[in-house]
Symmetry: C2
Subunit: 347 residues, 2 copies
């Protein structure tokens, strides 16, 4: 018959006091054994572990968090949910893969991951005591959430850099310049001589760096440039609109279109075909962000896969390193994958 703590308000759960009593040692010794601190004889250590196991003892995270000053929970900034599929360039697919990997990585380090909805609805520092740090995605220039967290002294890691904050190096993500030019090189190798860019309008580093990469690449290859800025939120409709303007206007039409977002690319493809263009024969299409839409369109669209699983994992690991006081180097540059598909004449 198991004798539980006779004090307290948590019926049925063993406390460290119960373990100490049954093992015949102090609570300090139990804590030391379970946390690998202090010293304990081998016999004592074994006895404590056996009792803890038998009582199914588990430290109470509230108590532990209070004493340690750490909660064991990381916050994941979940941008405006009423705009699902719009804010996130690659749609919900990307975010789920990212969040999933982040949650699993956190768990592997014994941490929980809390969803923090729409920071514009509440003061994100409201949870500042409840989480050890935050992961936020794609900061815009002088990102207000990032600013607030940094001002509050909250550890934070972002996916992608803040273009207005070059001194902030705690971020993970791809080298957008390199990856963008990699796709452009592919388009050129497939015969493209007039590549147009369909960019987004968010003032984040991804957009900024990709456009800059496009322009310098075009200069280097003596190619004319043509850029349209369409809000990410316009999705496939935005892509259709862009296709009409690129392909049906007076100006020389491009023979390839590089779209920042997968949803724009799907719309471009849809409209180009409607206008009678054969893809990839008449027009090549590629995108900087793989998504369901680009994988399942006909023809499937060549895309950069930003591998959100890697971003999620790396972001959590960097944040944990920061929390442990490690001076791990940032930023952490992650490679993207280039999926060559039928839209560029690839199998």
């Amino acid at each position: 018959m198991m004798r539980m703590s006779e004090q307290g308000s948590t019926p049925g759960r063993a406390t460290i006091r119960d373990v100490a009593r049954e093992a015949g040692v102090s609570v300090t010794t139990v804590s030391h054994v379970l946390n690998g601190k202090g010293t304990a004889s081998e016999a004592t250590r074994r006895r404590v572990l056996a009792v803890a196991d038998r009582l199914a003892y588990r430290a109470h995270p509230m108590a532990r968090g209070l004493r340690r000053g750490r909660t064991g929970v990381l916050g994941l900034d979940m941008r405006p949910l009423d705009a699902i599929g719009s804010y996130l360039p690659a749609g919900v697919d990307y975010f789920m893969r990212f969040a999933g990997a982040a949650a699993v990585t956190a768990l592997d380090h014994g941490l929980g991951l809390m969803l923090v909805p729409d920071p514009t609805r509440s003061d994100i520092t409201q949870f500042a005591h409840g989480v050890d740090g935050y992961v936020i995605g794609d900061p815009v220039r002088d990102d207000p959430v990032l600013t607030r967290l940094l001002d509050a002294g909250v550890p934070v890691v972002s996916v992608g850099r803040d273009p207005g904050r070059p001194d902030f190096t705690d971020w993970v993500g791809p080298d957008d310049t390199y990856e963008t030019q990699r796709v452009l090189d592919l388009l050129r190798s497939r015969g493209a001589e007039r590549v147009a860019l369909l960019a987004g309008t968010d003032d984040n580093a991804w957009n900024v760096d990709s456009e800059r990469a496009y322009r310098s690449w075009a200069r280097r290859h003596d190619m004319p440039t043509r850029v349209l800025h369409i809000p990410e939120a316009d999705g496939e409709d935005g892509g259709r609109d862009a296709a009409r303007r690129f392909l049906a206007g007076k100006r020389p039409r491009p023979d390839a279109i590089y779209c920042q977002t997968g949803r724009h690319a799907a719309g471009v493809l849809d409209e180009a075909r409607r206008l009678g263009f054969s893809v990839p024969r008449d027009l090549l299409i590629a995108t900087g962000s793989d998504a369901q839409q680009t994988r399942h369109s006909v023809p499937a669209i060549t895309a950069l896969d930003l591998v959100p699983e890697d971003s999620g994992k790396a972001a959590v690991e960097l944040l944990i390193a920061r929390l442990n006081g490690e001076t791990a180097p940032g930023p952490i540059i992650l490679p993207a994958k280039l999926w060559m598909r039928a839209s560029t004449g690839d199998a």
Copy 2:
């Protein structure tokens, strides 16, 4: 110059002791004023509120959680992440809408929502102290996670019922019988005389009830039945396979196919068209779960929208009611929306 607590390990944050000192009252009085308990004179109350506001005081959730025995965090069971897009019948779209609404609802009640990844990877009760209760989705018959949580005495609400546990009424969700027959009625009103069912293989109430509804509906209308069970995880490929078996076999072909999952429906549509069937002229298609694939296919597929936002909200609210000791009635039946689209001849 603000004088902060001179004890403690949380630099820069006001504690309740600081507020008490500056307001010239005890910490008990501050706690009572801020939590609406005990008694305090109007003058004292005003003074305390003013000081707390000036010091930007916020209760430390660890300390509060420890003393109250409640953490202010709800857990959201996030099923196998390595199967994103497969476990969830409607794919990631559904889950994000659900999780988003749940997180926002929790926040509206001052609570956080924690993602608990893949219960098969860890003991879900690991977090039992760290959360006040759980929301889990689509329990299978005698669901192991539900069982474990109930055994551990953890408050839990599920979306959909456990078909093996009729006594468990803390669930929210649609009336699958009614909603299924509603779609079937639509198919019949569009001239269908031979409706086939493409069901999933998960032994959850959604599948069980929908198939039962289909069979009784067909009996009532003197219609022949034809059912295929294809794993949800097969997605569009599973739908394509099913279409071949329904439409190209020796048996009388159906003139309508009701698919449980949107991804199956998209696959059925794809293959039916490849086989030369015109939708909706030769064949009607509908699904019990709206998704991106059903909204964006050509023609768009008539679908039941389970409105995951409503489920997420209702689940969190029911869980909160339970935590507050309220005997709110369960289950909470939520209506679905029927989106009539081109696949059934609707605009």
